[in-house]
């Protein structure tokens, strides 16, 4: 890593779609030194190991598989003069801003005028879901499975169970099919698939039983999984013979760096707390991509990265409004999971995030109320499912508002 500079105008952590899009944009806006750091041996982020369509329509007007899309992003950034350094792990965020790094050559620091965090999302582990039983081999996330299959041609099991029915759970099925792995069941604790119809048909088409209202109680096995115990809606428990469990979805931002830093973390999203420019609580830091919220597509993250890159270029030119005062938006009640951005500063400058993004914790039907000091500022009907995209214009907050803004749902009686 001898050519890694000690200082750059902008340092970006994470060479996924968001980080690479922002870097390319910053160069296009005339920022001289833009450095992207990634801890993996290859740049490109999650799409590197999603060997399926559809990627790249929004960005390149081409239908690509993940790896080709990742390669395209990397080439585009390099052609724009972005410096990409892989096998560099950022270990700490410092005021300044500056970053502590570790590389195969040891530790060092890099400082910057601005830092952009784009560390993406990961799936929630079996442990964090408190799934019972013992701990044999063959319990993996979709991300790990994709890495084994698509990067290394390895197969961790032959007939696993897929836990979850999010989009990524169906990616897991495709990954299995690619490798000749035959899942024996797809199980989902809720009464419907999380991903949108008609994907619910997909496992049936493949001949894989979809078991709704089914809870995974315990994993059995020693060296390798030998079976699982599940409980179905009628309260009956039964055993399913299987040699693996794909614990899919339940995304959460990879916010480890944030959580040990001086930056504010948003409890709801689990990611960085930002304003409409993607600016963090320390205005030297910005954040974009799936680190902001679980979870969006690559295309969305790319677009967001590009927009935050543009805002950073403005900030470097002294053209962003001061971060204070701000209206601080916070969900209350248990229906809403998150809202991004969390802070709106009064400004005429184009925002990087033109709309609020919301998510619900469960199926929710009723009215969404935005209020300040007890007075309702805005209200609209809401009928939403978990893990689905919900957006609202930033203008639901009156221009010039500051202080706390409450957002909640008044649910229709069941």
């Amino acid at each position: 890593m001898t050519d890694l500079p000690l200082h750059a105008d902008v340092v970006i952590v994470g060479a996924g779609p968001a980080g690479l899009a922002a870097a390319t944009e910053l160069r296009a806006r005339g920022i001289a030194s833009v450095v992207v750091l990634d801890r993996e041996p290859q740049a490109g982020g999650i799409p590197r190991h999603c060997n399926h369509f559809p990627y790249g329509l929004r960005e390149f007007r081409q239908l690509l598989r993940g790896p080709a899309y990742a390669a395209h992003l990397v080439e585009t950034a390099k052609a724009a003069g972005v410096q990409i350094h892989t096998e560099v792990t950022v270990t700490r965020l410092l005021e300044g801003p500056a970053l502590q790094l570790t590389t195969p050559g040891g530790i060092r620091e890099i400082s910057a005028r601005h830092v952009l965090l784009c560390t993406g999302v990961r799936e929630t582990s079996r442990a964090a879901r408190l799934i019972g039983g013992v701990k044999p081999g063959g319990v993996v996330s979709t991300g790990a499975l994709q890495g084994m299959v698509y990067l290394d041609g390895l197969r961790p099991f032959r007939c696993p169970v897929v836990l979850g029915t999010e989009l990524v759970s169906f990616s897991a099925l495709m990954t299995c099919r690619h490798m000749g792995i035959r899942p024996v069941a797809m199980i989902e604790p809720a009464g419907r698939t999380t991903a949108r119809w008609p994907t619910g048909l997909f496992p049936r088409i493949q001949g894989i039983p979809l078991m709704l209202n089914t809870e995974l109680l315990a994993i059995e096995g020693r060296d390798q999984v030998t079976g699982i115990m599940v409980r179905s809606a009628d309260g009956k428990t039964r055993r399913i013979e299987t040699d693996g469990v794909i614990v899919s979805g339940h995304f959460r931002p990879e916010a480890s760096l944030l959580r040990t830093s001086h930056l504010r973390v948003d409890q709801g999203s689990g990611g960085a707390e930002i304003d409409q420019f993607g600016r963090c609580s320390d205005p030297g830091y910005f954040a974009a991509g799936n680190l902001l919220r679980p979870v969006e597509t690559a295309g969305w993250s790319w677009k967001e990265g590009r927009a935050v890159g543009r805002a950073m270029a403005r900030s470097l030119a002294g053209q962003l409004p001061p971060p204070e005062p701000a209206a601080v938006v916070k969900p209350s009640g248990d229906a809403l999971k998150l809202i991004v951005p969390q802070r709106i500063v009064p400004s005429d400058t184009d925002p990087a995030l033109p709309r609020f993004q919301l998510r619900v914790n469960r199926a929710v039907k009723g009215r969404l109320l935005v209020s300040a000091k007890g007075a309702v500022l805005f209200s609209t009907a809401i009928n939403a499912l978990p893990e689905r995209r919900i957006t609202l214009p930033l203008t639901i907050i009156p221009a010039g508002a500051s202080g706390p803004i409450d957002i909640n749902v008044k649910e229709d009686p069941a």
């Binding site: 801890r39 041996p41 290859q42 740049a43 490109g44 190991h49 060997n51 598989r65 790896p67 080709a68 990742a70 390669a71 990397v74 990409i84 350094h85 892989t86 096998e87 792990t89 270990t91 570790t102 590389t103 195969p104 050559g105 040891g106 530790i107 990961r122 799936e123 582990s125 442990a127 964090a128 408190l130 799934i131 019972g132 039983g133 013992v134 701990k135 081999g137 993996v140 996330s141 991300g143 790990a144 890495g147 084994m148 299959v149 698509y150 990067l151 290394d152 041609g153 390895l154 197969r155 961790p156 690619h178 490798m179 109680l217 315990a218 060296d223 959460r252 480890s256 959580r259 040990t260």
Partner: protein, 482 residues
Amino acid sequence: MPPDRINDRTLFDAVIIGGGVIGCAIARRLTLDGWRVILLEKAHDILDGASKGNSAILHTGFDAPPGSLEARCMAAGYAEYLEIHKKLGLPLIRSGALVLAWSDEEEARLPALMDQARENAVDNLSLLSAAETRKLEPGLSTAVRASFRVPGEYLIDPWSAPHAYLLQAIANKAVLLRDCEVTGGHYDNGQWRLDTSQGVIGGKIVINATGLYADIVDDRLLGKHDFTIHPRKGQFIVYDKPAASLASHILLPVPSPTTKGIVVCRTAFGNLLVGPTAEEQDDRQNAALVPETLAALRQRGEEILPGLAHEDVTAIYAGLRPASEFKDYQIHARAGQNYVTVGGIRSTGLSSALGVARHVQALCEGFDQDRQPLADPLWPQVGNLVDDRDDKRPRDWQCPGNDGIICHCELVTRREIEAVLSDPLAPQSLAGLKRRTRVTMGRCQGFYCSSALAKLTKGRLKHPMAEGDSEDKAGVDRVGND
């Protein structure tokens, strides 16, 4: 002697059965005292039984029954750990402990517990009011009534300690055989001939340190047992590293007669753990995690440290204590048969192991006197897995030439993994590799590194992480190297 040169005429001075922390410490002690030692472990790797999962506290023994064998072994084990840990490269986190009272009844018991501690020669105790307690630990719930502080309770690495003991034994010519289960044997004419899954092993003295199987192995070798193992499960929740800032001391409850109760403490690796439960079971092998119990542990943790409500869970695990019907350790020498049973080391074995080893060595001297302690033994250092050590020893990721990070959450380097995979204790299972290096033990639990690790360990583990018969299936459109 390399294991493949052992045959049924080889006669060891001592055969130790069981590679738990106790067997490892005994192997070290006897080797340093000049014996030719072999240690037999039935699993792919050592530390596969009770020593797999514990709270990792180096206990002073303040609450042990005064005068018991357990109290004596703990005092000796504790003292020796403090003496040797630097030479073996082992960590020591001088956290101290607070014994917390949450009710009037518990508060009333504190003075008696402090007296018991002093009887066990554990001093420098201080009784603290609720306000003083919360001044030391501002994250504690306001419900705390009072506490007393035991400054000598420390945190250690539950795995690197036994690994270091056995590595030192092996460096000084002890032999380790894994995948070697002792199934029977007989004593004849001053010699033991043990039947194992790897053939007959001969020795002058046999030490049964099989933890959860100690009574079964006594049956197999002596045809009888003096105690029965009643496994007692303990489940734990480990929180992500940011949670470690919520408590600096080990937070202990007022103990009950059967358990030390639910502890909250940091770990040597910078996490925070809550546990263990105490649940009797018959199964000696499987320590099953139970979601409802884990949820209750979470809740208890939040009652003690309300800030935990916002922290992420990194890991869950369970261990089995090799408890017996007796409260004290069951260490019995059978003079006529040159045999020692070392059993019932239920909930303090990590702390007492070096002391137990000295006690066993003294018993063995009764069988056979002419030993010359090694004049100049080797002291190999184990790798360092602990950040921010008081001795400032760096982690490998902080050093040049580490070949890059494999496990991002725990910052485990390729060089560290390669070093471990090629040393005399090279793990043969993923579980063993985890205990030696901490790979996949962090917050993502293998999301990021499993594929790199599966590739790196290909052909090197008894049970591979994945099969690799179809390299051509790897993505065709791979991203080029940067």
